[in-house]
Subunit: 328 residues, 2 copies
């Protein structure tokens, strides 16, 4: 069935609750359908924006469930807003499709609709075209001027924190490749949920404004992402292996050394890593409690360069790889 | 040679004049390198944003010159800002590459640098990843609240205008496919320049704020793009064939009927079509003169639906296709 781009957009992407409506979204002046979308920020607010591209066969399996895929694509981008402490305003979508598959489009737009509604982040516009399957999403958010959680503010003496439980999304890739026969159905489900339904830590990010000295989301792996903060801030970090919140399912399925390695070097967890002065420990605990987010203090910012992981006996633990290198 | 994503970005996309620098660009609070870029708008200004995806083999030839391709990709997106009357603030880039080709990257980033400098639209951030060649660009612009040139404001009785000369970009596709043996080298060059170096009508767009009742850029073809305005505004239009500014090169290379058809139905010209009250004719002429942009009055907005083209003798001219349908 031949469907023009306009029919496709009208049928799948102009649905109430998915497409931005100026009547419902106070910062949206003009939603999808014109040459540009228009946004207006409240006085004293700045705009935060982040663009990510997901490629079939590289970032997700070609045959991934379109509903899960759409939700994950938006959540992963919202994680960048969370890492700055920003509140979502809306997203734009560049969708490249090899063909019109109406079942796939229904699943994909349903998944987007669910995620857009859950995070109050409507579709502002975009582009739909023919080509190898790719999903480009840009999220727009807002925050009070001067309150953004940047990478370059960590100071020697700060504590290092991470939210949530680590490593499940990394292990899920083994499940998706059918390389984990020992896992129970419940364990497999938990891993796949961690991979396909990462929870962008938006409330925690907002709560950390004014408390954290730096923050970043965990997309490349904890060591790699803390490395970005350390480089931008001109500091080093020492992490304590026994304080790393390794997900229980990892500990059940892997040897301790492998579980720790996955927790620290596998990407895709979309938790927040951040630093804060020791004077803020109570405030950080309050922020965690208020937002219902587990937060673990896993180390200390020091002078120097690099990220060091030490065991309980004080010995340094070395890892073969520190994060996903897209072109290595 | 193995180059990580970070090395690639640092080497090719963090160059002075290409990447946004808060010291140089007053609305940029934070440029590339963090989870998000941050923008601040002057009081009373709104943000305009538009995302476009260009796919190799669909929107441009696989072996297109990377310097020309990069400049065209940015110019095409800036055309959407021009069509709203917005001034560029910066762009984000989602670049998907099948492999690291340093010669290609040098040409591409040089082309981007040239265009970014020419239009004062620096790179704010983005994503670089592995996959089939695609270029996703989102442009961010600003305009005074309430002054955007939208599609839904055309009124019966308004004049219909188009800027520039039409049809060369469409004919250039024949040149690229070596289907135009009769053209001289100079004619071929002119067509290729029209295709690869479209001039986003940014000054004209700004000058039309408060004058035009609607506007849109010509990407799908004049008839298709005026059709978007007509539908959004709930009006019809009648165009006069002899007033259409068919490019002289088209008239030299094609029969009159074919030249007119290319001018009205081929896309990629990135001129502006717009409507304005007859009371604004002098003001429109002044806007054209001030911005050095040719502007032709080609018809009239009427009641009803559809776009009709009439010959000098009053007969209606029919065209087989009205614009590029991405999925037909």
């Amino acid at each position: 069935m031949a469907l023009s781009e306009f029919e496709l957009i009208n049928r799948y992407f102009r649905r109430p609750g998915l497409a931005a409506d100026p009547e419902v979204h106070p910062c949206v002046v003009l939603g999808p359908g014109d040459d540009c979308a228009l946004l207006e920020l409240p006085a004293g607010q700045q705009l935060a924006l982040s663009l990510d591209v997901l490629v079939a066969g590289v970032h997700f399996p070609e045959d991934a469930d379109p509903h899960l895929l759409a939700g994950r694509a938006l959540a992963v981008n919202l994680s960048d807003l969370a890492a700055m402490g920003a509140t979502p305003l809306g997203f734009t979508l560049g969708l490249t499709l090899p063909r019109i598959d109406e079942t796939w489009l229904q699943g994909f737009s349903d998944g987007l609709l669910d995620a857009a509604a859950r995070y109050c982040c409507p579709l502002l516009g975009g582009d739909t075209t023919r080509g190898p399957l790719q999903i480009a999403i840009q999220v727009q958010g807002r925050l009070a001027a001067g309150t953004a959680l940047r990478r370059d503010g960590a100071k020697a003496g700060d504590d290092v924190y991470v939210s949530g439980q680590l490593g499940r999304a990394g292990l899920a890739l083994s499940v998706l490749q059918n390389k984990l026969p020992a896992a129970s159905a419940m364990q497999r489900d938990e891993l796949l949920v961690a991979y396909y339904r990462p929870e962008p830590r938006l409330p925690l990010g907002v709560a950390l404004r004014g408390l954290a000295t730096s923050a970043q989301d965990v997309s490349d792996g904890v060591l790699a992402d803390l490395g970005h903060i350390a480089r931008a801030s001109g500091v080093a970090m020492q992490l304590h292996a026994e304080q790393v919140p390794v997900a229980a399912t990892l500990s059940a399925l892997c040897a301790p050394a492998q579980a720790l390695q996955l927790a620290l070097t596998a990407g895709d967890d979309y938790e927040l890593v951040f630093t804060a002065s020791p004077a803020q420990r109570t405030a950080i605990a309050d922020a965690a409690a208020t937002t219902g987010t587990a937060v673990a203090r896993i180390g200390r910012v020091t002078a120097g360069t690099g990220i060091e992981v030490v065991a309980a006996d004080g010995s340094v633990i070395l890892f073969p790889s520190a994060g996903y290198l897209h072109f290595s």
